[in-house]
Symmetry: C2
Subunit: 194 residues, 2 copies
C-alpha cells in the first residue's frame, strides 16, 4: 500500500515543526513529531531526551567521527540501535495512512515504500537566530553558535545514516525559505502541492 | 525603486523556461529569456549563439579552469566582458517593473537591488533526459552525458561569477522538482507565492 505522506526536513529554528503541524491540521491527517519521539522511546527503551537528541544529531560535527564514536567492538552503537527502531516506527506509521512526519530522515526511510511529498524548510541564520531566542530563550551560548552546531550535527547524522547530503535540493520536491515566504505561505504551498 | 521580480534558475531539461513563461503569462508581466539574449547580443556586439552559450556556461567543467581560460594578459576574457553587459542589461530590466527573468545569474545580480522571489527548478536525470530528447531530438551524444556536461558547465559558470554554489538550497526561496510536481503545479505555486 502506498500512502501519501508529507515528510518535512527542517533547519533548526526555521519553523519547520510549526509548518508540519499546520499542514496536518489543514489536511486533517496526523502529524508525527513529538508523538514520534514518544513511540520510538516506548519501543526502544531509551528516554525521550535520548531519542530527541540522538535520533537526529551526532555527538560530533563530522559523520566520519560519528562512524567510530561510542561503538562496541562489534561496531554497533546505541545510536545505531536507535536508528533501527526509529526506521521501523516510521515504516509502520507510513502503513497506517496519510500523515505528516517531521524530521528523523523520514524522507530517506520512506523513499521506496510510500508516495511522499518531500519538503525541506530553511531560513537564513539571522531569522533562525531571532526565532530560537524568541521561542527557547537565551542561553550562555550565542544563538549563531547554537545554530551552526545543530546544523553541523544534524547534517552529519543524515549523512552517516543515509549517505546523502542533508538539504541537497535534489533530495526534496519542495525546498522553501520560511524566513522570506513566512510560515503561513509555506503551509499553503505544501497543502496545495499535496 | 524595488520591483517584484521572479528569477528562475533551472537545470537543463527541467522545463524551467516553460515554467517562467507561464508564470509571466499568469501574472501578466514580461518574461525575459530569449528576449534577454537578444538585448545582450545587441548591446555587446556578440552573436546570439555566443551569448546563449557563453552567458551561462563555462567552456570547461571546473570554475578553476575557467578562471584561467581564454584570458588576455590583463586577465579579461570575452566571457568576462559579456558578464558585465549581461549584468547591466538585467539591472536595467529590473528597474523597468515586475518581470520574470530566466537564468543568467539574475538571482545573484539582483540580490541587493530588487525584491526577488528566487526560484530553482530541478528534476531527476531520467526525467530531464526524456524531456530533452522529446524537445530537442536525439544527438550523437547520449542524453545523460549531455545533461551532466551542461550541469557541470552551468554550475562552474555560476560559481566563477557569483562565488556561490549553483542550486544551493540557501540561495533560493523556492526549489521545486518539476519532474515530480509537474510544470503546471510549479507555475501555480510560484504565482501563489508571488
Amino acid at each position: 500500500m502506498k500512502n501519501r505522506i508529507v515528510t518535512i526536513s527542517r533547519e533548526f529554528g526555521s519553523g519547520g515543526r510549526t509548518v508540519g503541524k499546520h499542514v496536518a491540521q489543514q489536511l486533517n491527517i496526523p502529524c508525527y513529531d513529538q508523538e514520534l519521539i514518544e513511540k520510538i522511546a516506548d519501543q526502544s527503551g531509551f528516554t525521550r531526551e535520548f531519542v530527541q537528541e540522538k535520533g537526529e544529531y551526532t555527538s560530533y560535527g563530522g559523520w566520519f567521527a560519528n562512524a567510530f564514536s561510542d561503538r562496541s567492538p562489534r561496531g554497533v552503537s546505541a545510536q545505531d540501535y536507535l536508528w533501527t527502531i526509529q526506521r521501523q516506527v516510521i515504516l509502520d506509521l507510513a502503513q497506517q495512512g496519510p500523515c505528516v512526519i517531521v524530521g528523523r530522515c523520514a524522507d530517506y526511510i520512506l523513499s521506496d515504500v510510500a508516495d511522499c511529498l518531500k519538503v525541506f524548510i530553511h531560513a537564513d541564520m539571522e531569522k533562525r537566530a531571532d526565532r530560537i531566542v524568541r521561542l527557547y530563550g537565551e542561553t550562555d551560548e550565542q544563538p549563531l553558535k547554537r545554530l551552526k552546531d545543530k546544523d553541523k550535527r544534524r547534517a552529519a547524522y543524515y549523512k552517516f545514516y543515509t549517505d546523502a547530503e542533508w538539504g541537497d535540493v535534489h533530495h526534496c520536491h519542495m525546498a522553501l525559505d520560511s524566513g522570506v515566504l513566512g510560515i503561513d505561505l509555506c503551509v499553503d504551498l505544501i497543502v496545495r502541492a499535496f
